[in-house]
Symmetry: C2
């Protein structure tokens, strides 16, 4: 049975994301660290802020050629060092590409080692990782088309077990299945792909169950998402059915590719409200806002619109910066939102050639990059700050929930400020 269908109320003050903590600091001998200067700094926010890490795969693997196998994230590896620096200056979470067709174009030859190197490179820099997606009809392996449906299912199950198992401990969050609402009726191709056929014959819920069952079995600690672009009642109905069928979904993924215009605060909250009713955390998995002309409203499948040139414009960049900050504030105001992932750092090689990045194709940052940085590493962030403890070793820290570090004369301790409002946290410094 799903949780009660009531949505928590949004709060623009973000009180639900802020702490007023008292740190009770003790020295290496266990005595209160009284009347001492300590430096406190935020390391990572509790609200995961991410982008796709697709552009960093070639760079992390020391490659020289851009990857043309994916429609998303096609920046040249030579830009990798610069893009990585920009990435780490803003984000703490990355989505990595596991599109089956690109990951295993020839059956039995998966791209595991290359993705593992990328994942390790990012994890070593404190970045949380999510794999996208384990099951999807688009960009799935072409060789599935020739298999009977039972074998498609077996291959799909084995592929889930393999990827989730191979990356456990490194990638512990997965879009278990993507865009199930249209999966069985997807008809944008001449020959039906194997996954659409599987889903049509088995049913949506059976296909979702398969994805979660295999992923859960391969990594019981993983956070597993159901992800969709369909924000209509269709996705609501699907979610209800999946939950009633007893599938354990850890978070709901909502896409928001706004190529046809910013949703605005009202629609964003309306969507969040409808999907928060299920009592599950919400991950905004794929957000985009253009810094150029918008896609005409009559386009139904975004993939159908491919202008020869789609430049970023000065007015578009100002608008993007404004809308981006408004969107992040709106999303953060809703207690159900636990992650916000933007879909594209740079315009170079971006999906559909659209100017969605916070970085121009030439590597310079747009106003949106600076605006978002001012918000998430400024207003929502505690930089290294010197504070003085009282006679009992206590020091107050007000800030956004997340991971912090406290240091005193070269000795440092990590701490998590995970509870909103007034709280006390013990901090023990090492020798």
């Amino acid at each position: 049975m799903p949780a009660p269908h009531r949505s928590p109320a949004p709060d623009a003050s973000l009180a639900h994301r802020r702490t007023d903590a008292v740190l009770a600091v003790r020295d290496a001998d266990g005595a209160p660290l009284a009347h001492a200067d300590v430096v406190v700094e935020q390391v990572r926010p509790a609200l995961a802020l991410g982008n796709i890490g697709f552009d960093l795969v070639g760079f992390a693997n020391g490659e020289e050629e851009a990857d043309t196998g994916s429609p998303f994230g096609g920046a040249a590896p030579s830009r990798g060092a610069h893009l990585a620096e920009l990435f780490l200056g803003l984000y703490d979470t990355a989505t990595l590409p596991f599109y089956w067709g690109g990951f295993e174009p020839v059956r039995g030859r998966p791209d595991t080692a290359r993705l593992q190197r990328t994942a390790r490179w990012l994890a070593d820099r404190g970045v949380r990782l999510k794999g996208h997606p384990l099951v999807w009809h688009t960009l799935t392996a072409d060789w599935l088309r020739d298999l009977p449906t039972d074998e498609v299912e077996e291959a799909q199950r084995a592929r889930i077990r393999r990827e989730v198992g191979d990356f456990a401990g490194l990638v512990d969050a997965w879009d278990a299945i993507n865009e199930v609402v249209i999966m069985p009726v997807f008809a944008n191709e001449e020959r039906t792909n194997g996954i659409t056929r599987l889903c049509r014959e088995r049913g949506r819920i059976a296909t979702v169950r398969m994805a979660f069952e295999e992923a859960r079995g391969a990594n019981p600690r993983a956070t597993l998402l159901l992800n969709d672009f369909d924000m209509s009642t269709a996705y609501e109905c699907l979610v209800e059915g999946v939950l009633e069928a007893g599938v354990q979904v850890d978070a709901l993924g909502l896409q928001s590719h706004m190529h046809q215009g910013y949703w605005g605060e009202e629609r964003t909250l309306e969507v969040l409200d409808r999907f928060a009713r299920f009592g599950l955390p919400i991950h905004m998995t794929e957000s985009t806002l253009l810094s150029g002309d918008l896609m005409p409203p009559e386009v139904e499948d975004l993939n159908d619109f491919r202008p020869a040139s789609w430049p970023s414009t000065p007015e578009g960049e100002e608008r993007q910066a404004d809308e981006l900050v408004r969107h992040y504030r709106t999303l953060a105001s809703h207690p159900a939102v636990e992650a916000i992932t933007y879909w594209g750092l740079t315009d170079e090689g971006a999906w559909l050639g659209a100017p969605v990045g916070l970085v121009r194709a030439d590597g310079t940052t747009k106003p949106s990059y600076d605006a978002l940085r001012d918000l998430v590493r400024g207003e929502w962030w505690l930089p290294p700050t010197t504070l003085r403890t009282d006679g009992e070793g206590r020091v107050g820290v007000a800030g956004h929930l997340g991971d912090y570090r406290l240091t005193h004369r070269g000795a440092g301790a990590d701490l998590a400020l995970a509870e909103a409002g007034a709280t006390t946290v013990e901090v023990a410094l090492p020798r």
Copy 2:
């Protein structure tokens, strides 16, 4: 678990609806009725063909005033005898109105006796009956608004038990719940109605389960439908979820109010194909085709369009007749379709004032009435026909599946021809 997700193929020849039966006729002593003339006639088709019986409620109750309590079926009782004759000349099935708000406007004073008289009047004339609907947010009882949600649920459950119990044996088919896709997000009113609130708090599937559970308990023999106007993937997702949750749905109800234009054969078959995948019988519960100007395509909620006058036109009437016959042929070609109910016999008091009827407001028939009659009581029908048995009392009958009657010298026997293709049926004449 739902049935396999495969749809049976349509067949325009209607072979799946026709029988080539041999009747083996015996006389009252059990001897073969050899070399005898018998009259065989069709009494009722297996494919239920219906319309709303709302206009007949006042007439069957000997009333003089038209019922203004419902937006559907507001013809004057004085026209009842004429409309009843036209009804019985075309249809074998009727949908009766159980809108809670009209049926029990004051709590504790349901309109049971009046509807029972109507149901009996129709049943006495061989008409099969369906009640519509047991649960719906629109036209629900206003007094639910003031009750806490738990009491709304209890009242709704009690109302289902009462109506289904009171009418068991007379009304054995029910739209158990109507338009669930939008039920929890329905917002076309100033103060949220009790059923939308219930569905929003409990969830769609829990509300569907409630409806079927109570109705099934009150009449285990009833045919219970899930009914919706939403033909999108949203309804597909809802159906899947309901079936996966173990709710026993006897038939899927699909509405097709075509105020904005005839669907055409292709779309009709596409819709049938998508919903037939679940392996359940399909009832086309609410079909309409206009004999006047179409509603503009940009209207989203049909209820929002109310022209001052909406006349039936000569061109519109020709178009309606053509489309109606095409639509019935298309629906009959699909093996999953078990019932086709049109939504309005006469334009008088029709929903939205639209010219949907097969009869004009002045009581004269439109071309559509005659065209449909030629089809369902002509091409698809066996009128009383004299046939001669062979030396073994056998006689061949080719016709559409349904109930038949065979008579010989004043003695008659009812028989059901229920199996498509070649078959043999024993017929025993009484004394």
